[in-house]
């Protein structure tokens, strides 16, 4: 099964003629992802790594039957690109773009309530169901097929964690990077629900960060889950009031601290790892049960 993407996923790339779009298209094709089209206004008729380019998402979807889109356009155009993808009624829209204005994101969330699409991101590395499909920029070699679900707010930290697991022989059903923005489309809770319902997933690793309340909300849901969850929280020693890269990683007053997150998760029965390698050990332990 896996969640979100699998061997039937047909992807179009918005911004395919850009540097990143073109490069990542190649990497997704190499992984075996069905990249069936690209969008770049005014460039219809051209090709990128053999993938046909269209003027609009609508045209691309009509011509290719794509059900998923990945967005690689600059921040100031991302709002429009996301709405265009929603309008074409795609199942899943993955937005890699970072730095989208907050008010644009608020509007995107309003729109999400009116449409059938799901949004992953923005500012996210995408999603991979190892051996089936990759929609995003996650490095192939860190992953292998298996029964662990991973959901994370971080990019490279997650690759590191996944690689440790993979090297230890623990493969993954699906790895989802929900992105570091304060208002992600799919949340921890949304993805945890999918993992809970996914036959292939036996346990879940949640990689959180300081800032916001996503981990606290996840903890509430985890109480109702039947599958074991192991968590890791980055930024336990970050000084309050400083912004650490991700818009989400800012601590204001007593909300969003690592302590509050860790406490909420432990309260929900989650094992919170102190060091990266502890994750491997804990997962091995819960999966062997």
């Amino acid at each position: 099964m896996a969640i979100l993407v699998d061997e039937n996923t047909k992807v179009i790339v918005q911004g395919i003629t850009g540097f990143q779009g073109s490069f990542q298209t190649k990497r997704m094709l190499d992984y075996g992802t069905k990249v069936v089209g690209g969008v770049s206004p005014g460039k219809v008729g051209s090709e990128v790594h053999g993938v046909p380019v269209f003027n609009t998402v609508e045209e691309a979807v009509e011509a290719t039957g794509a059900n998923t889109s990945i967005i690689y356009v600059p921040a100031r155009f991302a709002y429009d690109a996301i709405l265009e993808a929603f309008d074409a009624e795609l199942d899943l829209v993955v937005c890699v773009t970072e730095g989208i204005p907050l008010y644009d994101e608020m509007k995107v969330h309003k729109r999400l309530k009116e449409v059938k699409s799901m949004l992953l991101g923005p500012n996210c590395p995408g999603v991979i169901s190892p051996g089936k499909s990759k929609v995003g920029l996650l490095p192939d070699r860190c992953f292998k097929p298996g029964n662990l679900g991973i959901v994370s707010r971080s990019g490279t930290l997650t690759y590191q964690i996944a690689e440790n697991l993979t090297k230890a022989g623990i493969g993954q059903s699906t790895v989802v990077g929900i992105g570091g923005d304060p208002m992600p489309g799919l949340t921890f809770v949304d993805v945890l629900k999918m993992f809970e319902d996914d036959d292939e997933t036996k346990a879940v690793v949640l990689v959180g960060e300081i800032g916001g309340s996503a981990e606290e909300e996840a903890a509430k849901f985890i109480k109702k889950m039947s599958k074991p969850v192991v968590a890791f929280i980055a930024g336990r020693t970050a000084p309050p009031g400083k912004r650490m890269g991700h818009a989400g990683a800012i601590i204001e007053g007593s909300t969003g601290t690592a302590e509050s997150k860790i406490e909420a998760l432990r309260d929900a029965g989650v094992v919170v790892a102190e060091k990266l390698f502890d994750i491997v050990n804990e997962i091995r332990r819960v999966m062997e049960k």
Binding site: K110, G180, M244
Partner: protein, 384 residues
């Protein structure tokens, strides 16, 4: 981008929100002149971007212009919670009858705009929330519909406002949320909102703009220079480097905010003190970027060792090594580097760096895990 009190007050005032009479100043002499104009009895407020300024001694009430001059000489150049005072705001002392709270924030978990107000003011919102949770009133609205009149009425009637205070609050809520939308504010606040004989006055003012939206408000760019506290952070922003000064002696460079924070965490777990947070972001295919990051971290004179933690998912490791070597070549001071380098061609990268280290005598230590690296960095910083 967080604006100073005086900058936010200028914007409030332009939009019709009453602020105290007063002026900004950078020298004690200016302050004396302003205080004289205002009749001697004034309050001198350090312009630093940090909460709890009053309790930390950043706000002084005086009776005479000479006193104002005196406290200013003490304030200017001093540190309030680690922030240097470069400017003070000199204002009339208000005839305070009551203090209310009015704020606006983008509620990220609800994905909505939120107006917050209270008849209890003068303490910060967190304190208010814990001491008087029942006295906090909220109005949620989304950016598409905007704030409707009836929502303001509902909120104010529920909070027990009536008569002239109702009208004044209605206008203030409308104006504050208009300002928030005009400038794409993450947060804006009037705390305390002072009730005087002459109506409501914004005694303090806060306005934080979404950094990602500044490109739509070029007029605000000019305000930014005054808002930076740390010279190295200001420089980093200009260079496009995501850098935060922490204050310890172990420099950190990582690609990815989560990775960088985890590196910081582990250094502290091992008993060390991070000097900074630095997320290189993507784009390491260009050695120049890596070079700039290392150079920047080493500008902090306290840094005794740098832990570079790169998970090169796309970038080839020889490009990272190339950047490091470029930086080291131009560097006067030799600090040891701890290196966790993973990714395509990591062997080539390591070999390049090892070769360079041998030739030039720069100590470079390769590690396999972050834990190991953190431990090594702490040892090096401690001079072990």
């Amino acid at each position: 981008m967080r604006l100073h009190e005086y900058q936010a007050k200028q914007i409030f005032s332009k939009h019709g929100i009453k602020t105290p009479r007063g002026e900004i100043a950078e020298t004690p002499e200016e302050v004396r002149k302003i205080a004289e104009k205002l009749g001697g009895k004034v309050v001198v407020k350090a312009q630093v971007l940090v909460g709890g300024r009053g309790k930390a001694g950043g706000i002084k009430k005086v009776d005479k212009a000479e006193e104002a001059e005196k406290v200013t000489s003490q304030l200017l150049g001093s540190l309030i919670k680690g922030h240097r005072v470069d400017r003070v705001l000199v204002e009339e002392i208000l005839d305070i009858q009551k203090e209310y709270y009015l704020g606006y924030v983008v509620d990220k978990s609800k994905r909505m705009s939120t107006v917050i107000f209270s008849k209890v003011g003068g303490m910060d919102i967190e304190e208010l929330a814990s001491k008087h949770p029942g006295e906090i009133h909220k109005i949620h609205f989304d950016p598409l519909w905007g704030l409707q009149d009836y929502q303001i009425r509902k909120g104010l009637f529920k909070a027990g406002f009536s008569g002239d205070e109702f009208k004044e609050m209605f206008r203030l809520i409308r104006t504050l949320s208009d300002i928030a939308y005009k400038y794409e504010a993450e947060l804006t606040e009037i705390n305390p909102l002072v009730v005087t004989n002459n109506g409501f006055v914004a005694a303090d003012a806060r306005l934080n703009i979404d950094d990602n939206a500044i490109f739509r408000h070029p007029e605000l760019e000019t305000l930014r220079d005054a808002t930076e506290v740390d010279e190295l952070e200001r420089e980093a922003r200009l260079k496009g480097i995501n850098y935060v000064r922490i204050g310890g002696d172990i420099g950190i460079i990582a690609n990815g905010a989560g990775l960088a924070m985890t590196t910081m965490d582990l250094i502290q777990v091992m008993g060390g003190k991070p000097a900074n947070f630095l997320d290189t972001g993507g784009g390491l295919a260009d050695p120049i970027k890596m070079k700039a990051c290392l150079e920047h971290v080493l500008k902090d004179g306290n840094v005794k060792v740098v832990f570079i933690n790169i998970f090169a998912e796309i970038t080839r490791c020889e490009k990272v090594a190339e950047g490091i070597i470029l930086a080291l070549d131009e560097m006067k001071r030799k600090v040891p580097l701890v290196f966790k380098l993973v990714g395509t061609n990591e062997e080539i990268g390591r070999n390049m760096l090892n070769k360079y280290a041998k030739e030039k005598g720069t100590p470079i230590y390769f590690v396999e895990t972050i834990e190991e690296g953190a431990k090594k960095a702490v040892e090096l910083a401690d001079g072990v």
